[in-house]
């Protein structure tokens, strides 16, 4: 457990020292969102209707942009092969890195989402389901994206490939994240949507850990 | 010839039915042709390589 926490703590510390990681993702998130009013027109009514969708789609894209760095730096400086040889199973290393990634991207995006909601004229009732959905849904993204990031290690044009590999897998999280907001707006219960997001997370945990570890072992051979 | 014409007309949906069959033929037939051509090209390449390998030994 100590080793697991140490891995999370190290990734967080590295990210804050470098300063770029979280800021880059958040910067992409904010800039991409500001593009939408230009694309669909600044009418507050239209923006308010599609605000939840915009925020979710942009969160997926922002996460995708950040995956390339998840394992690459550790691969290049030899840290990854050492991590693979530690007593801590590689599956747990992958989980630890996914958690650290989520804290820096998913959580940061979730915290920033209400502000973006204000800018996009998101209806008042929609804030709770949006934030709750992002909170439960974005960890799945970090886990599944981790598999993609591990798979493209050693591939040519790896960074460009990740999006093609993982965005289709993100679709369920997007669907239920947005439907949670819509359900609340039409007066339906919120809980089923959040429970499905939690179920997706329960699937993504083993898939991310075992798939990611298998892909990393392959990359280290 | 009226029967042929009405067959080709497909009850007014010629623009739907014939392109659908055409596209299917183009894609699946195309894949088959591409696969067969790569097979025969590789067969030829292998034949050349094997003949080159035999020569210096004998």
């Amino acid at each position: 457990m100590n080793a697991f926490l140490a891995t999370i703590a190290r990734d967080l510390r590295l990210a804050t020292r470098r300063g770029g990681e979280a800021a880059l993702t958040l910067g992409f998130f904010v800039v991409a969102i500001t593009l939408f009013p230009f694309g669909v027109g600044p009418g507050p009514e239209l923006l308010g209707r599609i605000a939840a969708g915009i925020i979710w789609v942009t969160a997926l894209l922002a996460a995708t942009v950040s995956f390339d760095r998840l394992f690459r730096a550790d691969m290049e400086d030899g840290t990854l092969e050492l991590l693979a040889l530690q007593p801590l199973p590689l599956e747990l290393v992958v989980l630890a890195k996914a958690i650290a990634h989520w804290l820096m991207t998913g959580l940061a995006v979730t915290l920033l989402a209400p502000l973006m909601g204000l800018m996009l004229n998101l209806p008042g009732d929609a804030y709770l389901p949006l934030i709750a959905g992002l909170l439960i849904g974005t960890p799945s993204l970090s886990l599944l994206g981790g598999v993609g990031a591990a798979l493209v290690l050693g591939a040519r044009r790896g960074g460009a490939l990740i999006g093609l590999l993982v965005l289709p897998l993100f679709l369920p999280a997007l669907i239920f994240g947005v439907s949670a907001v819509e359900a609340v707006l039409i007066g339906m219960p919120l809980a089923p949507h959040l429970l499905i997001l939690a179920a997706l997370l329960a699937v993504a945990l083993p898939v991310g850990a075992f798939g990611g570890a298998a892909a990393l072992r392959l990359a280290l051979e | 010839m009226d029967g042929v014409n009405s067959f080709l007309d497909m009850g007014g949906y010629a623009a739907t039915v014939w392109p659908a069959y055409g596209v299917t033929l183009a894609i699946l037939g195309g894949l088959l042709v591409v696969s067969l051509r790569s097979l025969s090209r590789r067969k030829a390449e292998l034949a050349i390589l094997e003949s080159q390998r035999e020569r210096p030994r004998r």
Partner: protein, 245 residues
């Protein structure tokens, strides 16, 4: 069990089995698809609602079946490659991907052509269409990943992991898309009146369906043979390079 599979899957043995199956598969492909298509186009009745557009069904529906069946075969081959590390499984899985992608493309395009007169639009974000589109993306991702490595073996294994992850996620995607669709649009537009399908329409559909399976076998065998040759060429070239240096 693994050793039994291995003996079954040695290249020489594969060649023998493939050569034995091939003529039958070709015969079935030509005969069944030919009969089914002629039957479907010329002799089956037009639908009382959709008119002659229903004739698209005889290729569209089998293509959609094959799109999914191909992925299942590819994922099974990938899993067995990861477990038993047999090269032939990797070869076969890679050979599956373009075939599956082509069947998926056929299903999407014929569906779109059929959709125009039936629903008045080329594309609807219907649950089935959307999940087939995602399936198409998964095939593309698999092929891109398999080709993105300089080391062939490594690319094969990375792609195999992706195929397995996709196999777990594909049903999830499919059901979430279905649920999303019913939430947004109510009842699906895509209604085939499945149970009421007439025998005169069922038969050509079954014929082309089996014919497409046979076509899949033909394509798969040709592509595996071709890949085996490519590996043999690579080995010889490498031996030559090593001999001259």
């Amino acid at each position: 069990m693994p050793s039994f599979l291995h003996s079954l899957a040695s290249p020489a043995r594969f060649q023998r089995i493939a050569n034995a199956i091939m003529p039958w598969a070709v015969l079935l492909t030509v005969g069944l698809i030919g009969t089914g298509v002629v039957w479907g186009l010329a002799f089956s009745p037009p639908d009382y609602q959709q008119g002659d557009t229903v004739r698209v069904m005889y290729i569209h529906v089998p293509a959609a079946w094959m799109a999914m069946a191909c992925y299942a075969v590819m994922a099974l081959l990938s899993a067995s490659f990861l477990i038993w590390k047999h090269q032939l499984a990797d070869l076969a899985a890679r050979a599956c991907a373009p075939i599956g992608a082509c069947f998926t493309a056929v299903a999407l395009i014929t569906g779109s052509l059929w959709g125009k007169p039936t629903w008045g639009t080329w594309w609807v974000w219907d649950a089935r269409l959307t999940s087939v589109l995602i399936l198409f993306f998964l095939y593309l991702g698999y092929m891109a990943l398999a080709a993105a490595f300089d080391d062939r073996e490594r690319g094969g294994r990375a792609a195999a992991i992706l195929a397995c992850v996709g196999a777990i996620n594909l049903p999830i995607i499919k059901y979430s898309v279905e649920w999303w669709n019913t939430l947004h649009q109510g009842a699906s537009v895509f209604r085939m009146d499945g149970p009421t399908i007439d025998n005169a329409m069922l038969w050509p559909l079954v014929l082309t369906g089996i014919g497409f399976n046979a076509l899949f076998v033909v394509l798969l065998l040709v592509r595996i043979k071709s890949e085996l040759l490519a590996r043999r060429i690579e080995v010889l070239q490498r031996a030559r390079a090593a001999g001259r240096s």
